[in-house]
Every structure is written in structure tokens, then in C-alpha cells.
């Protein structure tokens, strides 16, 4: 019994210590991001890789998500003779929920894992130590620009996901199932309010921060060997997913 309690205690303490280290990492990366000299060139470079790397997978998954929503939405709404609200239902669920979350998942898989692997490799090949020994703060040089870039790129990718998804549902609903084109868009116009767009935006920005934070942290602290890199990559993806879902629940409950 005491043995068990002791183990639970030890487990909790190590988890708390790990969380503390992660928060300190985030705070120093954020603090250094706004300290001069700003790394504008690096930020632009990372926006480009962050956005371009994930663009195709975001468009593809947005399109298919939208098409599935066209079918499923039509099926449910028809039970209430409300097919004409398909546009509104699709837009609301995409803008408020599915767009930010699914786009964040795609970006985690594509860009987040690459970030963890890249920083992990830099750790294993002593490039991070090399930065320290050249008196350059690797958090400012490697992590801060990526964080800023993700804050900018993530809402843009989410917006692309939303738009492509809305057209995907349009293609199925209007093109295949015969919902009228006019009611698809007018329903959307009358029911979507600014708050829906805004809450989706807040989600996208914070998910961008979570992905870069978790993936950079895991990569930065990867054990310096080949298995360490793969382990860090896997952990970064799983942990990002968990954080995104938990934070999504929290945000949804306060912003509803």
C-alpha cells in the first residue's frame, strides 16, 4: 500500500518537474522572441517552411473533410427536412471546431514532427552545443523564430482548411445531392457571426503555439543518439495531440 502511494508520489513529482521545465522553456523562448535583435529573416524563412510544408496536406484533408461533411450533414439534416441549412451547419462546425483541430493535427504530423526531428538531430550532432559554445543562445536562434512563425502561419493554414472544406461540402451537397446553391450560401451568411470566426482564430493561434512549443521542446531535449531522435519525434506528436484536445476543450467551454 505504502509502496503504491510512494510510486504515485514519485510519478507525480517527476511529471510536475517535467511540466515545469516545459513551461520555463516556453517562457524563455517567448521572452527572447521579443528581445532585440529580432531575427526577421529567420522568421520569414520558418513561415515559409511551416506554411509550404503543410499546405498540400492541409488542402487535401480539408477537401475530404468537407466532402464527408456534405454527405453526413445532408443525411442528418434531411431527417428534419432542413437540407437547406447544410451550408450553415458545415461552416459553423468547420470554423469553430473541425478546421482548427484537424488543421493542427495535420500540421503536427507534417511540420511538428519535422521540427522535433531537426532539433533532435542538431542535439545529437552537437550543433546545439556548438551554438552555446559560440555564445549564441540556441533557444533564441532556433526556437523563438519558429514560435513566431507558427503564430502567423497556423491561422492562415486553418483559414485555407475552412474555405476548402466549405467548398468540398458544397461540391457534395449542391453538386451531387441537389441542395440549392443559393440556400447553401445564404444559410451560411445568416447564421455565421464574427464570434465564430474569432473563436476559430484564437484556437488556431494557440494550437500553433502548442505545436511549436511541444515539438521544439522534445527535439531540443532529445537524448543525444539516433533512438533519442525517433523517440522525441513520436513523443512530440502524441503530446501535441493531447495538448491540442485538452486545450480545445478548455477554450470551447469558456468561449461558447
Amino acid at each position: 500500500m505504502f509502496e503504491l502511494l510512494g510510486q504515485i508520489g514519485r510519478f507525480t513529482l517527476t511529471q510536475l518537474a517535467a511540466m515545469g521545465k516545459m513551461f520555463i522553456f516556453l517562457l524563455s523562448a517567448l521572452g527572447l522572441a521579443f528581445r532585440r535583435p529580432a531575427k526577421i529573416r529567420l522568421i520569414i524563412y520558418h513561415i515559409k517552411t511551416f506554411g509550404v510544408d503543410s499546405l498540400s496536406v492541409v488542402v487535401l484533408s480539408g477537401f475530404f473533410t468537407g466532402m464527408v461533411m456534405g454527405f453526413q450533414g445532408y443525411y442528418s439534416l434531411r431527417k428534419f427536412n432542413a437540407e437547406s441549412w447544410l451550408g450553415s451547419a458545415t461552416a459553423l462546425s468547420l470554423l469553430r471546431e473541425l478546421g482548427p483541430v484537424l488543421a493542427a493535427f495535420m500540421v503536427t504530423g507534417r511540420t511538428g514532427s519535422a521540427m522535433a526531428a531537426e532539433l533532435g538531430t542538431m542535439r545529437a550532432t552537437e550543433q546545439i552545443d556548438a551554438l552555446y559554445s559560440m555564445a549564441i543562445n540556441p533557444i533564441k536562434y532556433l526556437v523563438s523564430p519558429r514560435i513566431i512563425a507558427s503564430l502567423i502561419a497556423m491561422p492562415l493554414l486553418t483559414a485555407i482548411f475552412d474555405v476548402v472544406g466549405i467548398y468540398g461540402a458544397y461540391l457534395v451537397g449542391v453538386g451531387l445531392l441537389g441542395v440549392s446553391s443559393g440556400s447553401y450560401f445564404s444559410g451560411m451568411e445568416s447564421s455565421v457571426v464574427f464570434h465564430d470566426v474569432y473563436s476559430g482564430f484564437i484556437k488556431a493561434v494557440s494550437f500553433g503555439l502548442i505545436i511549436t512549443w511541444v515539438c521544439c521542446y522534445k527535439g531540443f531535449h532529445a537524448p543525444p543518439m539516433a533512438t533519442g531522435v525517433s523517440q522525441a519525434t513520436t513523443e512530440s506528436v502524441v503530446l501535441s495531440f493531447v495538448f491540442i484536445l485538452v486545450w480545445d476543450y478548455f477554450l470551447t467551454s469558456i468561449m461558447l
Binding site: Q127, A130, M134, A135
Partner: protein, 254 residues
């Protein structure tokens, strides 16, 4: 060796990773303007010891003094300033993959000085010439052979005219001809710049030719530390075992 000329002094250093004790009371010193070589079997903690010299790692116990300042207790800002006095050639060169060889060598100048781009070009090109990499600046590290990467790493380590240069296994994995070339390069640049050199190596006996002092790290402590000539003729069983490459003896293997 009088204490006054010691650039770096390591006093009773202990370092563990988890349950594994790597350093168990290392004490030694590095004389200003000389090359001191640390030998020892793979995995005995040479890199760990080296990383304590510019506080990339902090000890569990013990001190490292540079010019009588204990660097294990420096504040963040002083720490960065202290590291600026070092040049480091890492075991795998540790060039930044994302930029060309030239940009790698120019990187510390761009980040840490206010020099104009033309001056930076001149200095970086000069260092690349000195290590025999003229005309290779536009290549990426991944496109270079191991020996060329080491030389590029050396050019980067020397570009800020450091007072102290740390070399982590500069010749491991290179063919004997190239190894001799790198050794000569270290000796020549040391004579040109007059830095205090710390070399970690197990390319013996070749490395003895460029060393003023040699120390052997085994079982977590410095077992022998002498001027090169005396080290080579030392009757210490640890030294004998290492030089002759025997598995039986006072050094615990595996």
C-alpha cells in the same frame, strides 16, 4: 608547471548521468599557450570533461577556474562572455546543416561582431584558405567528406581568434595521412595564433608530436599527467596498458 601560467584549472570534478558516474574527482591544469592532450578509452568521459571547460556541462561537485574565475558559478551574461573566449572543434565538427560552409565560418562574426560584410568575407575566406578549403565555401556540410568537415569546423573554431581552443577527437575516423595533416594544421595554427590548446584524442603516438603535456583519463580520474616525453616513458601501468592496447590491466574495459 607553476600555477601562475595555468590558463585553466580543474579541481576535483565530479559528474554523473543518472546512476552512471563518469568523472570521479578529476584534477588537472592547462598551461597558457601550450597544447595539452587528454587520452583515454572510448566512453571514458573525455568529451564530458571537455564540455566542463566552457561550462556546456556543469559539474555535480568541483570547480573549473579560468584566470582564477570559477566558471561553474557564473551568471548567464558572464557565461556567454566567457564562452566567447573559446573556439571549439566538436567530434563531428557540428557544422550547422542549414547553411553553407562559408556561412558556417562567417556565422560567429555575423552574430557576435559589428564587422562589415566585406571584412567578414575577407576573414572567413582567410580562415578557409588556412585550413586548405579555398573555393569550397559554397558547399553544404552534407556535401563534404569527414576530413573536410573537420577542417571547416577548425576554420569556424579559429575565426574569432580565440584564446583557448578545444579539439574533440580531431583525427578520429580519418586516414593516417589526413590525420597527420590535421595534426600539422593544429600545430601550425597554434604557433600562428598562440592559443591554449586542449586536444582529446586516441590517435597515438602521432598526437604526442604536437602535445606539450599529456594526461590520461581512466576510471573517472586523471591517472597520469606529465610533459609529453615523460608521459611516453612513464612506467605507470595505466599508461602502459593504454599505449600497448591491452585489455588486461588497471583500466576497466566494458
Amino acid at each position: 608547471m607553476s600555477a601562475a601560467r595555468a590558463m585553466i584549472r580543474v579541481v576535483d570534478l565530479y559528474k554523473s548521468f543518472g546512476k552512471q558516474q563518469v568523472l570521479k574527482g578529476v584534477t588537472m591544469e592547462f598551461t597558457k599557450g601550450k597544447i595539452t592532450t587528454i587520452v583515454g578509452t572510448s566512453g571514458c568521459g573525455k568529451t564530458v570533461l571537455l564540455k566542463h571547460l566552457n561550462a556546456l556541462l556543469l559539474p555535480d561537485r568541483g570547480q573549473v577556474f579560468i584566470d582564477s574565475v570559477d566558471i561553474t558559478r557564473l551568471k548567464q551574461k558572464d557565461l556567454y562572455e566567457m564562452r566567447g573566449r573559446f573556439g571549439v572543434l566538436f567530434q563531428g565538427a557540428a557544422l550547422l546543416d542549414s547553411m553553407t560552409v562559408f556561412d558556417n565560418v562567417a556565422f560567429p562574426l555575423r552574430e557576435k561582431t559589428t564587422m562589415a560584410e566585406a571584412e567578414i568575407r575577407k576573414k572567413a575566406d582567410e580562415r578557409l584558405d588556412q585550413v586548405g578549403l579555398e573555393g569550397m565555401g559554397h558547399k553544404y556540410p552534407a556535401e563534404l567528406s569527414g576530413g573536410m568537415r573537420k577542417r571547416a569546423g577548425l576554420a569556424r573554431a579559429l575565426v574569432m581568434d580565440p584564446e583557448i581552443v578545444l579539439f574533440d577527437e580531431p583525427t578520429t575516423g580519418l586516414d593516417p595521412v589526413l590525420a597527420t595533416g590535421i595534426h600539422q594544421l593544429i600545430a601550425r595554427t597554434q604557433q600562428t595564433f598562440g592559443f591554449t590548446g586542449v586536444v582529446v584524442s586516441h590517435t597515438i603516438p602521432q598526437v604526442f608530436e604536437i602535445s606539450d603535456y599529456v594526461a590520461i583519463l581512466a576510471n573517472g580520474v586523471i591517472e597520469e599527467f606529465k610533459p609529453t616525453k615523460e608521459f611516453q616513458s612513464s612506467q605507470n601501468p595505466v599508461v602502459q596498458q593504454f599505449i600497448q592496447g591491452q585489455t588486461e590491466g588497471p583500466i576497466q574495459v566494458l
